[in-house]
């Protein structure tokens, strides 16, 4: 893109800057649009599985429902409770949403189409997603109210519990791909399965890790069946109980942006990202970003499907699954995969 702006007669520095800002807006604005639409999709899927109609009044098929909701919250009054720590209370949604957007800086949308092609892309995502805890904890504490505080503590303990096994799963992928760069990880999956299937999921040693990653990503984003932070029967509405207007909506948007990010990570780490499912020439006619979006949408459908069908976990079950099942399992697979790769001379 820099070359295009240079051809308009700008110096390299300015052309680079304009191209970068354009790239950022090209990620951030469609992402927000996608979040609005995906909320609608989520409600439609959920409704269909419950034999209901879902939103169908605003616009054709209710397509504009999310925008109507957005306009409504935008015009609402922002209530800042008198007992709250006002500064932190307002900063918390800003942190949540900023962090949710930031992680997308290293996601590759096509070969070479990535905003920041850094060597440690995967670690960057891990670092940014570990910051998600702060938006939640700060909002719960700053509200100075009982239920948000309990919910924030629960959410924080839940997020960090599952981050452990996510870290080990990422190591399994990196062992095979030999790099932390997301584009390199995608390239390593070209023809990985039998020389024809693009994706690490087609691998007996990595498939169980994908299952662990999928379930952990549900827990990390506090989606059903792990949505204990919003267990309405005990915690009202979770850590956002005291929020209203756009600050409330930002938590919502940030949450869905994180869900989309986790879907994208599932697609990139195990299903070949922007590569077509099969390493077969005619499939490369379809541009890479379409494949990526199709995979993200597929995983989002899986997330909605799980939400519609699986009952909520109890907190002790959640902790048990994270610490007693996923953690030992992923550790064992780190040993197995590295041993297998050493024995077969993968690194020689």
């Amino acid at each position: 893109m820099t070359a295009f702006f240079e051809s308009l007669g700008m110096t390299y520095g300015w052309a680079w800057f304009v191209a970068t800002v354009a790239g950022i807006l090209l990620i951030a604005l469609p992402l927000m649009l996608a979040v609005a639409m995906i909320i609608y999709v989520d409600r439609k899927i959920w409704a269909a599985m419950a034999l209901r109609k879902g939103p169908n009044v605003v616009g054709p098929f209710g397509l504009l429902q999310s925008f109507a909701d957005g306009l409504k919250v935008f015009l609402q009054e922002t209530i800042v409770p008198s007992a709250a720590n006002k500064g932190l209370f307002l900063i918390a949604p800003i942190i949540t949403f900023t962090v949710a957007l930031m992680a997308w800086a290293v996601i590759p949308f096509n070969s070479g189409a990535v905003l920041a092609d850094i060597n440690v892309g995967l670690l960057y995502i891990l670092a940014i997603s570990s910051l998600g805890v702060y938006g939640v904890v700060i909002s719960g504490w700053a509200s100075n109210s009982k239920y948000p505080f309990f919910s924030a503590m629960r959410a924080a303990a839940q997020m960090i519990s599952y981050e452990v096994s996510i870290g080990f799963v990422l190591i399994c992928v990196v062992l095979w791909a030999g790099s932390f760069n997301l584009n390199a990880i995608i390239e390593a999956q070209r023809g990985h399965g039998l020389g024809i299937v693009n994706g690490f999921f087609f691998n007996l040693l990595l498939f169980p890790m994908w299952v662990v990653f999928l379930i952990s990503s549900l827990a990390e984003t506090a989606r059903a069946p792990f949505d204990l932070t919003e267990a309405e029967s005990e915690l009202v509405a979770g850590y956002q109980t005291e929020y209203s207007s756009m600050s409330f909506a930002l938590f919502w948007l940030g949450e869905y942006a994180n869900v989309l990010l986790m879907c994208a990570l599932n697609a990139i780490l195990f299903f070949g990202g922007w590569l077509p499912p099969l390493d077969w020439a005619p499939l490369y006619i379809i541009p890479g970003w379409l494949w990526l979006f199709a995979k993200i949408f597929f995983f989002f459908f899986v997330f909605s499907w799980v939400k519609a069908t699986v009952p909520r976990f109890r907190y002790d079950q959640l902790m048990r699954l994270g610490w007693k099942v996923f953690l030992p399992l992923s550790l064992i697979f780190v040993v197995l995969i590295s041993g297998y790769l050493m024995a077969t001379g993968h690194f020689a």
Binding site: N119, L123, Y124, A127, S130, Y134
Partner: protein
Amino acid sequence: MIQTIAFYLFAAMVIASGAFTILARNPVHSVLWLILAFFNAAGLMVIAGAEFIAMLLIIVYVGAIAVLFLFVVMMLDIDFAELRAGFMKNFPLGILIALVLLAELVLGVGAYRAGALHLGTPDGSAAPLLGRSNIESIGALLYGRYLFLFESAGIILLVAMIGAIVLTHRGARAVRGQQNISKQIARKPSEATVNTRPEVGQGVEL
């Protein structure tokens, strides 16, 4: 040029947030300033070319250690009046520690200026491997030359883990909601239900 600006921006932010960490009255605010300081330190690391260390700084310090700090200060019910009383009581001790630190600082700077120390002599032995990212260079060094230091780090982590469990674990409690999942899954309808055909007015024997 941008690098210089970024360096001064991050450096100034580190110092400012470090100062606010000790000046903030509310301990929760202190921790949050500390997190900001870690962040900017990570920025400085990126400028120095140590991208892996930068990410590690965020993952470990901001993502894990600061979370523990936040848990501690948020869940402790802090009485500010009591804190200030404690401050006056420990004031002489604090002065003493400050003096010791100051003396160490002076000695350190003096020793460095005397020229006896050679910090990070550039003899080429620490040069990064050609064509490798700095994660791979660190790995090659840590799991090759500094193997014993690495294993002792493992022992320290083990001790830390056992220590934490011994200190915080309150012993066996009556565990509620303990479930045997495999038993639940293995249960069949035939084990749990019986079909009976009671006579009218007879009721059911259980």
